[in-house]
Symmetry: D4
Subunit: 255 residues, 8 copies
């Protein structure tokens, strides 16, 4: 049950359309459920204004399935599953045929149910330095779309060929948030930070070799950005960037 549904419920109670007993029943979702191996947080969507997410890595197919079922039972109607292997996706497809299940192999994302339709005119730009950063970028973009944001993808606009990035100056100027995704030296975040007055969320990626140290070079680069509007998430954390960008993008509407 999300915030809007709860408001509607309470207004129904106020107006007498819904009996208090009935309301009680609907509200009596436990704040979390104890599955032993997991305690899905059924109040989070209420508290945080977002549908629920399952981080799939290191979870068995059975665990993912159990958590998702518990959420659906508690009233969630769409679930985002990240870091989902193709094998687990194959299995989930069958289990959640009724609710609908789509798998995005590049992003390794599975979605049970439907994405929210865009709730804002604001636009999030997802930019990458290179082609190899696309899996992280798709994780970010799909997350933001799932949470109800419009997304514009600008892939392979790294700083070694600046004219590519500069040809999108106008788009950068009109975005509400920009997600800058890059491995190697991660300079993209700084350069975009200087070209826009929107908040920039930097996502370092593990793309690179040798002294890139699995993304550390890009991470440090972004943390030390000489442009003022750049904050950073963990290496390869496309989901986090998409989530925060969507949070910011929707501020105008929901507050």
């Amino acid at each position: 049950m999300n915030q809007n549904e709860m408001l509607t419920l309470l207004e129904g109670v106020k107006s007498g359309q819904i009996s208090t007993d009935e309301a009680l029943l609907k509200l009596k979702v436990k704040p979390f459920e104890d599955l032993g191996y997991a305690k899905p947080d059924h109040h989070r969507s209420l508290r945080q204004g977002a549908a629920e997410v399952i981080y799939g890595e290191r979870k068995s197919y059975e665990q993912i399935c159990g958590i998702a079922a518990s959420m659906l039972a508690a009233g969630t109607d769409s679930i985002l599953i990240t870091r989902l292997s193709p094998e687990a996706a194959e299995a989930l497809k069958k289990d959640f045929e009724l609710q609908g299940f789509t798998y995005y192999p590049v992003a390794k994302i599975g979605i049970v149910g439907e994405c929210k339709s865009p709730q804002s005119e604001g636009k999030i730009i997802v930019a990458t330095g290179g082609t190899s950063d696309i899996p992280v970028a798709e994780e970010a973009a799909l997350t933001a779309e799932f949470l109800g944001s419009r997304v514009l993808r600008l892939y392979d606009v790294g700083v070694s060929g600046l004219h590519r990035l500069l040809s999108y100056k106008e788009e950068l100027a009109s975005a509400r948030v920009v997600i800058a995704i890059a491995g190697m030296e991660g300079a993209l975040a700084s350069v975009i930070g200087g070209l826009t007055n929107a908040p920039v969320i930097g996502v370092p990626t593990s793309v690179g070799y040798g002294a890139s140290f699995g993304g550390v070079a890009a991470l440090l680069s972004m943390l030390n950005s000489c442009a003022s509007g750049v904050s950073v998430v963990n290496i390869d954390n496309g989901f986090g960037a998409g989530y925060i960008a969507s949070m910011i993008n929707k501020l105008k509407i929901e507050n």
Copy 2:
């Protein structure tokens, strides 16, 4: 010259109140000035919708003074100077007596001219884990206030005594952005991230000793936050956090 002033100017031209020649003169600010040791960027306030900032560390008094003078000559009416030593502040106080100059010793911030008055109802919470994090917190808070945001300070609410933080649950729920500042293990960002649906900007501080490695422990902690809405800036980067928070806080109004 900021965006609003430029709009006013252009509307003045449109309506005939200002001659094109006069407008031209006002607009002919060079995009940057070459002082040899520095090239102040006079178009940044236009491009980025913010007053200009000088990062004072490792700059001599003469350099800071020269850059500030160049900015004022180019039409900026208030300047934020960060990482400013008391000695340099003393000297600047005399040079900018006319424009007004205030020094905040805890934050090591100097301001030439006036802060913007708050341009939004939205509120930024600046929370710290301990007393020793206050200098970084004040850098963040003053930066956000300088840029026209309202700020609520919650200091010394670290996670080892949770009831202190939990007693401010309502404030956290109503904030538009939260800045979570902590050294040592930096857990504050994650815990706040779970208590609010506002974007959280984590600022690790160098408070701690031994295996805190000058803030690295808190930095890694925040980058790996299990709460989804947390992004991070450099260790002790109060300015950056205040700047981004203000960017986000003002999105509603300016877009």
Copy 3:
């Protein structure tokens, strides 16, 4: 031969029920045996008041088997084998059919013989931040149970959804020792440290990615805990935590 058996023996000698010769024979277990590739320490259970443990990683099936046989021959009646692969477990099952052998696949623990029955009323809480930390938690819990302690498992109570943890406040208050197990930012140890006055043993796990650096982020976080009662063991060292917790839990009885 453990401490109690030795006491019984000596009292038997004192009372005349056992001849000194017979006692001598029983005591003449060599302090350690030289298998060439290993020197099992037969006096450790005496010195340290605990049954013997074999760390299975990087040992061949033959080596594990040889060490266990030597221990049994020296009078140990139950053996804990950690980091045991399913393949080796399969083989050991046959070899130690007589003594009894149980394999716990999640914890990768094998036990020859029986666990001690609980020797204390005190209770150890084993808490985890997430579902993926369970293998480490089970290693800790089974170790403590093997050594004769009662264990309460609280899994998936990470700090991003504090209400889950707070709903177990009473349990935390009544525990004699708490083991806090978490990957990513490892904040669980600090938060639990502030909620209980029992000693907390933090176990960072390698759960996470990117800047978690295989558990380093959680390790540093726990070492820098702002709560005063937290000490730490190696990344993923569930065994060590269970061992120490049991040591502390049994202090009351054996001293």
Copy 4:
């Protein structure tokens, strides 16, 4: 107000010796006080069964003084101040003349009021590898004594001259907890871990040079101890080790 005082109070109420109004007044200590720069946690002594502690590093004399005064006003009768500079100690001596104030320059510890008298027969051994580790050891020893534990100091018993350590075998065997403090290669913790069946708390120190990296070598050494009963606290964290050791030492009595 500590746990025992509260029990006495409640029993007074039960027996009618104290009126409920009077009890209410005494209990109405705020859970924490807001000094702006700090929020001293007046319920912690209740929650954690220990007198209050102030971590003095990076706090101004005025802040330390204000926090201590707030604690005393809330009923605490003795306060431990760690990492206290001689200069600040000099000033505090005057402010807290009434309550009594003692400064221990080697440990850099100041104590307002009296230490608790030992509440247990159990003994904590504080051992160091060398002479240079003594300041950290004294921080640990004084903390444990302040909290009501007996302490035996064994200084300069490093592993390069094993006979020194081995001559204290009996003491090690009879201790309830051992604190092993060492810089350089930190091997002391492992060796003691093999000689006792008490829990060992390792404290790596920053004593050393070059590849000791300010205590990292000793920290890693202790985290990887091949002895099973060793847990570790932060580099140079004598206070933490003393606090935990005392927690464990007093378990027998208070539970």
Copy 5:
């Protein structure tokens, strides 16, 4: 004695203008001299085609003076001394009054004798990201000038305000070598690398704080540059960059 002088000498011998005895005398410079604390390499200028350099850091005034005197005695006519403190410079000024001595305090460079006059039309660009990088830049620029190269300085053209750098596109296109000097995220090297087809030598500087780790962030950034023509020298190694740039710049003429 440099390469050209030696050629002249040999041609003089060939043509009979110089007797073989006289030539022998001039050539009989020892390959190195043994001062005990140093062994100045008198054949290096011959082998490497460059005047001699003294790295002043950690050398006493007496050592620098002794080495310089030995070089002059061996025929060197100009000496570059890097990392020279103002105090040592003051003293050297007196000792080498005859030969001429100039001190450049920003670069901390002292020069005994004269710089070579430019030996090539080629131009080296020395660019910095910010004002604080200037000391390193001056070390590079003066070194290149000392070795006979023309230098163009472009200071404070960091990537957060790209238009500053882009306004010097033509200069970048016409340079023979570019030295890109930046701290913080060090993105300057990559961006310049994409704008020129000259070799770029990146010099990371220790300018920055927190996660810049004394220049490591910039170093890693430059080593991972996505632009192909970038090689890197040590943090703050202005001298090395100037030396290599001059080597490359003079290739055309001397080969």
Copy 6:
């Protein structure tokens, strides 16, 4: 279209042999093409005077093929593909049969079309410390040859048997650029740097184990070279070294 072709075109226009319309058509190559997953930079060869390169790692066969086709369509006549797996090479061989395709398995390089014929008399030496460094060395050598430079290979001349290296003193003295490739302690770069007056480009390799940390030891060694003419590229970056060396080698001719 490379620089020379463009010059010819423009001279054709000047002389009237080519109509402006025809020239326009030829010049109207888009500066980059948007393939969605990649934006190949068709002006780079013009801007940087070099044929185009595809970095093959982490790119799918389809992506490599698409980028190559786009380049050929835009007029490039030879393409270097680095980090190309044998499997992808097999497939590309068929697709680019017409243009010619050669695969070099040791270097993991594929070339579509022909190498440039050497454009200079200058020679690049590619030296390695050991046999295991050869794959990186071949990447460097083939890159330089592809770009039109002559290359001399000196493999297995590591410093532990100096006479091997010293027997090539003359070759080292006559080279225009030297690429020094070594893993383990990477001392080769320093030693060569002292034997030649050509610029040396150091390439640390990941050859080694233990404390070589995947090439970090060699990287640090080369960055700290006591020889003045050494600059460094990323670990295992043979391509980068070959590219820069060729840039430097061709300076004489093209400027």
Copy 7:
């Protein structure tokens, strides 16, 4: 040809038994041979008084075979090949049937020809902390035996059960050199260093997990040893330790 053979040869020449021509022929072994991919150093056995060694890692079977053949042709009669995979060993067995070839799978060592017979009464002790360190220990022991030293193996004598090590005190006192091999916290080197007056060579191993960082913990521990006679080689470098120990052990005889 080793030192002794050369001496014999020269004495033969002196005494007239061997003609100078014949001697010349025998001496005319090239100092190294150029196989392209390798330059085997045929004078090393002369220079360094040891048979030749091939480091097998990352070398193809063909390369190993070629180098060995070249050595045999140059007069070496026994060759040690380290880090040799079982597969390559299988193949080499056939190629060097004539010369004799033995493979030691635990140590991953292959030997062509015979070991030298012990040339000294001195004894090298090879001690390990645990069973898992044995592969490294065998590499060390076999290397020392190959080079003509006597070896005593003491395996699994780690410091957590000191009585095992102490029971070999006499052996330790009588050794000429001790090799101390340990992973985890690596304390063995320090403890042995305090028990013997022979030089101790520490070999950290990659045995361990989590914060052992692949042997770094043991490496740092050994480098910071508080015992004075300990020097250290690379992680897992059994060969190096065996080589150096044998060098030291044979000093008495050959000098």
Copy 8:
């Protein structure tokens, strides 16, 4: 009392020249003395065949003085004090006027009493890469001389000017042990390792800046040496190198 003195004593007893009572008195030196802050190890010189050493860093003047007095009282006749500040040396000079006290300011070494006279013909070479490494080299050289070895100093023979080192080939060939001391890239150890068949002890120094990381670059370089006979001690550990070198140098005589 050292080994020789003890032998003399025992032979005196055997021959009747010394009464057993008298001998007993002389032998009754306690194995260590407990000064509280230190436990000087009076049996070490017996066990390790060396005079006693005090590591002066972080010890107060009073502590050093007390330990030295205790040693002298126990029969030691000469004491080496390392890392001794000039101020403490000044004070010690007065206290030990009787026994004789010499201070070596470059090495920061103080010696109470006399050095042993050389006990062997063998020679230790102490070589440094540069002038700035001399303080570490002197610590090594004086330590070796104190312990009775002959030392040859070769300073400033770094690899960037190989001919300097090569001119001492003969000396290197005739040494029994070589100590190779270098900062920056530390290549000296590898190059010397290839030029001699004596064991080489590498001492990395903290000389350097930037990516030398206080000696880490040189340390890693030496640990990864491609020459086989190199072992390593801690950064700047001149004492350790001198001690081990002397141990090895004296093996011939004492065994």
